[in-house]
């Protein structure tokens, strides 16, 4: 049989979870990560990061809208997805997740964005006419109060929402790790560290993404990149990335030390089929290189332009690391037989509905959504008209 070495059970020969299931945790991870970055400003009072606050929220929203699409496309009957909401099975983690998703979308992300932009929305509505005005009035839900006190209420409510949002973001992404971690039939997945590793890698990928988006959009708008801001983001990125790396290594060391009956199989895979994506891409290029680069910035004094280049490069490499980590988990977990006697091959389609093009399209689609969102609700720090939470940003 094509692509099979050794002995596979018949149901293991073809992979059921395709590249779209790789895209899915990657995209949800970006949502959670971007939101955590936003919470740095709100809850943890890291003022330097404030210029990315709104951008991070919109990024999270754009990616959250796309997050279910890979799952739906993967299903044979996507129209049945509503049954999960209408008649959920209370013992199914997947069914419960549908509610976590809606909760996160409605109660956390939309609400927080609405609170933060309400003032701008009202001002835009007042200063425009016709359809545009109607649209913004609709967005404001008819509220027209911009008194100091009402803005303070927004601020307070936003703080509470973010506070609730942090565990929600962890839940949103921890769940993905939970699903994999609780598949006890698969030794590559079944590990209580899985949710933890997923959350930390999610934070890393989301923060790196917002960093990239911020640097890119600022460039594109011919503005100065706020160095204290990117320096701080890079520092947090480094810290969280170290934790993430340590967690993943802990998982690895634990596997090597325990060396249970699956170890020979997994070890073989990591040295053959997964060598490039796991060792080369994920660990060397995607993790060690950015860790060293970001570390160098911490201990030396480099010029701003060099630092910016390093940040952009590191962030891009980190995205590669996280995508390959998702790949190694999802695809890697299906390449070996539960009999530990054989291996199969994943043949990725190109233009099938679960193929490579679709995966790339779905990963880029959120950026298109982000572009639209940014047009509707400009998040740029210099436009922040409401209460000037950001001391370092002065009005133009």
């Amino acid at each position: 049989m094509g692509g099979v070495e050794g002995y596979m059970y018949p149901n293991e020969i073809n992979l059921y979870w395709s590249v779209l299931i790789v895209v899915y945790p990657y995209v949800t991870g970006l949502v959670a990560g971007a939101f955590i970055l936003a919470s740095l400003v709100r809850i943890f009072n890291v003022k330097e990061v404030a210029p990315t606050y709104r951008l991070a929220l919109l990024t999270a929203l754009a990616f959250l809208i796309v997050a279910p699409l890979p799952l739906l496309l993967h299903l044979g009957h996507p129209e049945r997805c509503f049954e999960m909401y209408f008649t959920p099975h209370d013992t199914s983690a997947m069914a419960m997740f549908g509610y976590v998703y809606i909760w996160y979308l409605m109660a956390v992300l939309l609400f927080e964005i609405w609170l933060d932009f309400r003032h701008d929305i009202i001002l835009t509505a007042r200063s425009s006419k016709g359809l545009k005005r109607a649209f913004y009035v609709l967005l404001s839900l008819g509220s027209n109060n911009t008194s100091e006190h009402s803005l303070a209420v927004d601020e307070r409510a936003g703080w509470i929402v973010t506070l609730i949002g942090i565990p929600s973001a962890f839940l949103l992404h921890g769940y993905v790790g939970f699903i994999f971690g609780s598949i006890k039939a698969n030794p590559w997945w079944s590990s209580p560290l899985m949710p933890v590793v997923f959350i930390f890698s999610a934070m890393v990928s989301g923060i790196a993404l917002v960093l990239l988006v911020y640097m890119f959009t600022t460039r594109a708008r011919h503005r100065e990149i706020d160095m204290p801001c990117v320096d701080t983001i890079a520092r947090y990125l480094l810290y969280i990335f170290i934790i993430d790396f340590v967690m993943e290594m802990l998982d690895l060391v634990h596997r090597i030390y325990v060396a249970d009956e699956s170890f020979r199989s997994i070890n073989f895979m990591v040295h053959t089929k997964l060598y490039f994506s796991q060792i080369v891409l994920q660990i060397y290029i995607g993790t060690l290189v950015p860790l060293i680069l970001l570390g160098i910035v911490q201990v030396t004094r480099l010029s701003p332009s060099l630092r910016k280049a390093i940040y952009a490069l590191s962030a891009a490499l980190i995205e590669i690391a996280v995508v390959s980590m998702r790949w190694n988990v999802v695809i890697g977990g299906q390449l070996f037989s539960k009999s530990f006697l054989g291996y199969t091959t994943y043949k990725i389609g190109l233009i099938t509905h679960e193929g490579l093009f679709m995966a790339v399209f779905l990963t880029l689609l959120p950026l298109a959504f982000l572009w639209v969102l940014v047009k509707i609700l400009p998040p740029w720090p210099e436009l922040k008209r409401g209460m000037n939470r950001v001391a370092s940003v002065t009005m133009p």
Binding site: F82, F86, T87, L141, S143, H149
Partner: protein, 157 residues
């Protein structure tokens, strides 16, 4: 009062939230079948609907009332445990009215390998053959009698 006027917009969002929830509940009310959950996590009425469907299989004992000889042959051979309709397909209509409903002819080239094609996933002691090599392109029936498949006599080849 002033306090309320300044946080009234929060209620607007809460209202939106409540509207979505209400819409969800209304749609749910209409799309979830009435008998859902009656016995368990499924549509209760499905049981009645399934029970009302016509029966397609007559069962081996029904066949044996008329085809006594074949039933006896089969019972003595290696296919004793394989019921008539596992090969012949559902024949309740034929059993009820043999004169007007003729069972379809079977093609042994397809039928037998369905169970006997060699596969590593089958238990070792189950008789299985690599059909193409084993039969040399002939249909299985040339050498094996379907109702008593084991080859004992020398004349069988």
């Amino acid at each position: 009062m002033k306090n309320f006027r300044d946080s009234e917009h929060l209620l607007r969002f809460a209202f939106l939230f409540a509207m979505v929830l209400a819409l969800f509940l209304i749609v749910r009310h209409f799309v979830v079948p009435k008998s859902f959950g009656e016995y368990g996590h499924y549509r209760g009425a499905a049981i009645g609907e399934t029970a009302a469907r016509p029966i397609h299989f007559a069962g081996q004992s029904a066949c044996a009332t008329c085809h006594t000889d074949i039933a006896a042959t089969k019972q003595a051979g290696m296919h004793a445990g394989v019921h008539c309709e596992a090969c012949h397909g559902p024949l309740a209509k034929h059993a009820a009215d043999p004169a007007s409903v003729q069972p379809p002819k079977l093609d042994t080239a397809v039928l037998c390998v369905r169970c006997h094609a060699a596969s590593a996933a089958k238990p070792k002691n189950f008789p299985q053959v690599a059909a193409a090599e084993h039969s040399g392109g002939l249909v299985c029936e040339t050498c094996h009698h379907p109702h008593s498949p084991a080859i004992q006599s020398e004349g069988a080849k």
